[in-house]
Every structure is written in structure tokens, then in C-alpha cells.
């Protein structure tokens, strides 16, 4: 059975988790309809390394995983705070 490591609860069976899809930037509230429909429906769906949302269902913990969608290997998991702190850090 495949094991996924939750950054809060540690390694757990994959059946305890729910996949949340790729991390996307939400458009501004005043953005165009096109920008919003794009955000809702369009997917990058990259064959390669992506950042994505996962939920550890029993503890209701959302976190971020970096995963390769071709080899099915999880490269890293981190809390949402750590992820966005790193993103804003690298942006400046």
C-alpha cells in the first residue's frame, strides 16, 4: 500500500487522503469572467512536477505536496503556511 507523509500527522496510508488538485492562484475578485471561468475549469495538467493540494481526511488537515505526475513519486510535503511563506520569500 502506498504511504503519503502528512507534514502534521506523519506517514499514513494513501487511502486516508483526498486529492485536491493543483495549486492555482485565485484571480482578483474584480477580475474578468474569463479569468474566473479559467480559474474554475482550466487545468495545467502537466506531465511532470506539480504542486498540489492534499487533505488528510481523518484530521481535516490540508497541506501541499510536490509530486511528479509521470513517475508517481512524492518529492516533498509541507504545511500550507510553509509553502506560501517560501513562495512569497522567493518572489521578493
Amino acid at each position: 500500500m502506498k504511504i503519503l507523509t502528512c507534514p502534521v500527522n506523519g506517514p499514513r496510508n494513501i487511502t486516508e487522503f483526498v486529492w485536491g488538485g493543483e495549486v492555482k492562484a485565485m484571480p482578483d475578485a474584480a477580475a474578468s469572467d474569463d479569468a474566473w471561468t479559467g480559474y474554475l475549469f482550466l487545468e495545467t495538467n502537466l506531465a511532470g512536477e506539480i504542486d498540489e493540494w492534499w487533505l488528510h481526511a481523518p484530521t481535516n488537515t490540508w497541506f501541499i505536496a510536490r509530486r511528479n505526475t509521470v513517475t508517481d513519486t512524492v518529492l516533498e510535503t509541507m504545511t500550507v503556511d510553509a509553502y506560501f511563506a517560501r513562495r512569497s520569500g522567493s518572489a521578493t
Binding site: M1, K2, I14, T15, V18, W19, G21, D33, D34, T37, G38, L40, F41, L42, E43, T44, N45, L46, A47, T69, V70, T71, D72
Partner: protein, 413 residues
């Protein structure tokens, strides 16, 4: 046909034409380039040639003929969908399937078995009734039957109350059928090639050439081709190919696994599906039990097999068919399914001129092969969305006209 058979039987020699005459070299220009030599791509090429007289067509594939999802499905054909848009579309497909062996002069082993969508809850019975009424209204044979009738029509099924999810009844769809998946692709390829279409396998597309918002050609690993029009029919790689053309799709790629048992004598004549249990089963002409389950729980570009799939499938399968406990699994595989948010395909025009798409086939692509080929060919020739494909336009996600096909794959999602 019987006369030809008699002549063949009496003849001393039986020379046979090769099925496929491969074109050795790529030409520099084609009227239409089809990316993807699976059932859909080949059907599009065939109908372009046979119905519209457009024969300067080439079909490109990075792998081999029909080696993708055409070789990786469970070959179930049916029209008992839920939305009127879906039912109309698949009804036309079933009508085409019925004449296909004759039309393509190849034995597709098209075999009508009757398709049962089992219901284990009152809610599932209500949905079955809803689907039956929509189907009947549009001229598709479907009816709701109770558990005893299920047992009468399919004697090998277990309808005992002594299981976790007893069978309450089913949506019974007599035209439900299976076919030989490879023969479908071979038939379309053979007849398309006979009419002048070229099929180039081992030819991957690396880039789509766009000039002033128009698709004008493709760059392959064997050189550059100019094209009047380009269509992509690459289930599983749809997002990657569309990205080359410069747009995103509402698609996530998720593996769908299936397996077959060792071959045994005929014991199951029907196609049995249970949306609540996430299982479906039919017996192939070779005697193998062809079984499938739900899609994997997360996106992946891989056709690997997993143990979880077998475990969850068999747990329920053994309740329905206890005799399955005696059978060994012979082969297991996965196909990469293009899942759209409304469980409906994406067909027709795209934001790029002269570039057409046939994607979003999730877990329902094989049964649509003929109708999709015929209507996509029409779409390419007229450069406009045919009436039957209007609900499935890519544009529906911008205008919120989603189709919401909950009867899509009977396995539920």
C-alpha cells in the same frame, strides 16, 4: 456476402491483400493532419475520406497503431445515458456500430448482450427510472427491472440479501454490446488507407506551428509538415498536445484500471455494471472475464497497475459473482483517462483557427468511436460545430453550459 463466401470456399487459392500499406515517406503538405492513430483518429480519417472525399490526410502517432486507450478499455457499447445530449449522441453511435462490420469489411465481433446497471439503494433505483424515461423518450430501449427479473435474465448473479449491498433492481438496456477493440481500429485504418489516407506511426509531434492565430503545420521527429487543418485525438495526452497549440483544457489525466481473468467457457452472457459498487464485468468472445473498477483517486500520467485496484474490485465482484473466486487474474492494465468536470467529452472547434479537438473522453471513449469520427469529420470539413456536437464544445466552460453527465461511466466518479 454469402455468394462471396461460397466463391471463397470453392477457390483453390486464397491470396490476401495486406491490411495496411504503410507510406514510407512523409509528404510535405496534407489537407488534414490527424494527431493520434487510435480508434478516434483513424475513424476521423476514414470518414473524411469515405464521406467527404478528402484523402490527402495523414494520421500521426508517436507510438503504434491503436496502442493507447483503444487497447486499454473494456469495450462496452451502450446508449443509456442520462442527459438528452448524451443519449442522442450515443444513440447515433450505437446505430453506426451495428452496421460497422459490414461497412469496414472486418469482423468486429459486435455482440449485443444486454447491459444491466445494478441498483443497490432506493436512490439508485430512482436514478435508474429517470434514465429509463429519458432513454425511452429519445427512442433508446431501457427499462427498470426488479431483482427477480435480473436473476431470470442473468442466472449466474447472486441476488441474495445476505451480502453487504443486496441487488434491488437494475436499469436494463438490451442494445448494450461488446466488440473486438483492435478490430475497430484495424477496420478504420484498413479502409482509410485503401482510400489514400497515410498512417505514420513512431512519428511524434513536437510542436504545432501557428501563424497569425491559425494552425498551419506540425513539427515531428521526422520533419516538418504543412497542414490545411489539424485535429488532435490523443486521449491521455490531450492537455500536453493542446498546450503545444497554445491553450489549456478543462481536463485532469487520471488512470483507469482494468483486468481480465483466465479464459473459461461461456458462463456470463450479459454486461453487468454497478455504479454503487464501482465494478463492471462482461465475458469476451475468448472467454475472459473483462473487469473494471473506479478511476484512481489522483491524477497521474502512468499506466501502472496497483494492488488496491484489485482488492477493491474483487471485494465487491465476489458478492455479485461468487464463482469468480475460482478464477485467476490473467492480465491487468490501466489507461490514461481525460476527466472533464462535467463527465462529458470536448469536441470540435478550438480558440486556434483550423485546429480541432477530440478529447475529454474520460471513461466513455470507445463506445463513441464511430459517431465521433463521423461528426468530427463533418466539423473539420464545414469548419463549424455540427448540431449533435454543439453541447460538447470547448466553449461551454466559458458560458457555464455544462452537460453534467452523471450517467457517464456507470462506475461513478
Amino acid at each position: 456476402m454469402p455468394f462471396a463466401l461460397l466463391k471463397y470456399g470453392l477457390a483453390k487459392e486464397h491470396p490476401e491483400d495486406p491490411h495496411f500499406r504503410w507510406a514510407p515517406e512523409l509528404k510535405s503538405t496534407y489537407d488534414v493532419v490527424v494527431i493520434g492513430a487510435g480508434g478516434h483518429g483513424l475513424a476521423i480519417a476514414y470518414y473524411l475520406a469515405a464521406r467527404h472525399g478528402i484523402t490527402n490526410v495523414c494520421v500521426l502517432d508517436k507510438g503504434w497503431l491503436a496502442g493507447g486507450n483503444t487497447a486499454r478499455n473494456t469495450t462496452i457499447i451502450r446508449a443509456n445515458y442520462l442527459t438528452p445530449e448524451g443519449v442522442k449522441f450515443y444513440k447515433e453511435s450505437v446505430d453506426l456500430w451495428r452496421g460497422l462490420s459490414n461497412q469496414l469489411d472486418i469482423n468486429m465481433m459486435y455482440s449485443e448482450r444486454g447491459h444491466f446497471t445494478l441498483a443497490h439503494t432506493d436512490a439508485a433505483m430512482r436514478t435508474a427510472r429517470w434514465r429509463a424515461e429519458v432513454n425511452k423518450h429519445l427512442g433508446v430501449k431501457s427499462e427498470v427491472i426488479d431483482a427477480d427479473e435480473v436473476k431470470r435474465l442473468c442466472p449466474t448473479i447472486n441476488i441474495s440479501d445476505d451480502v453487504r449491498y443486496p441487488v434491488l433492481g437494475a436499469l436494463y438496456h438490451p442494445p448494450g454490446a461488446i466488440a473486438r477493440h483492435d478490430a475497430v481500429a484495424w477496420g478504420y485504418a484498413k479502409e482509410a488507407i485503401k482510400r489514400g489516407v497515410e498512417v505514420h506511426t513512431q512519428t511524434g509531434v513536437n510542436k504545432i506551428l501557428i501563424e497569425n492565430g491559425r494552425a498551419v503545420g506540425v513539427e515531428t521527429n521526422r520533419g516538418t509538415i504543412r497542414a490545411g487543418k489539424i485535429v488532435q485525438a490523443v486521449a491521455g495526452s490531450s492537455s500536453e498536445v493542446a498546450r503545444m497549440a497554445g491553450f489549456l483544457l478543462p481536463i485532469r489525466t487520471i488512470p483507469l484500471q482494468a483486468c481480465v481473468s483466465e479464459p473459461v467457457k461461456p458462463i456470463l452472457d450479459q454486461i453487468i455494471v454497478s455504479g454503487s459498487l464501482h465494478v463492471y464485468i462482461s465475458q469476451s468472445a475468448r472467454g475472459e472475464m473483462v473487469m473494471g473498477g473506479a478511476t484512481d483517486p489522483y491524477g497521474l500520467y502512468s499506466t501502472r497497475s496497483t494492488l488496491d485496484f484489485k482488492e477493491s474490485l474483487m471485494a465487491h465482484m465476489l458478492e455479485l459473482f461468487p464463482f469468480m473466486g475460482e478464477l485467476k487474474v490473467l492480465r491487468q492494465w490501466a489507461g490514461m483517462a481525460d476527466m472533464t468536470p462535467d463527465f462529458s467529452p470536448v469536441m470540435g472547434l478550438t480558440p486556434v483557427q483550423n485546429y480541432y479537438i477530440d478529447a475529454g473522453w474520460g471513461t466513455w471513449g470507445f463506445k463513441a468511436t464511430p459517431v465521433c469520427g463521423a461528426r468530427m469529420a463533418e466539423c473539420i470539413v464545414d469548419d463549424r460545430q455540427p448540431e449533435l456536437l454543439k453541447p460538447f464544445a470547448l466553449d461551454r466552460f466559458r458560458t457555464f453550459d455544462l452537460v453534467g453527465e452523471k450517467g457517464a461511466a456507470s462506475v461513478g466518479h
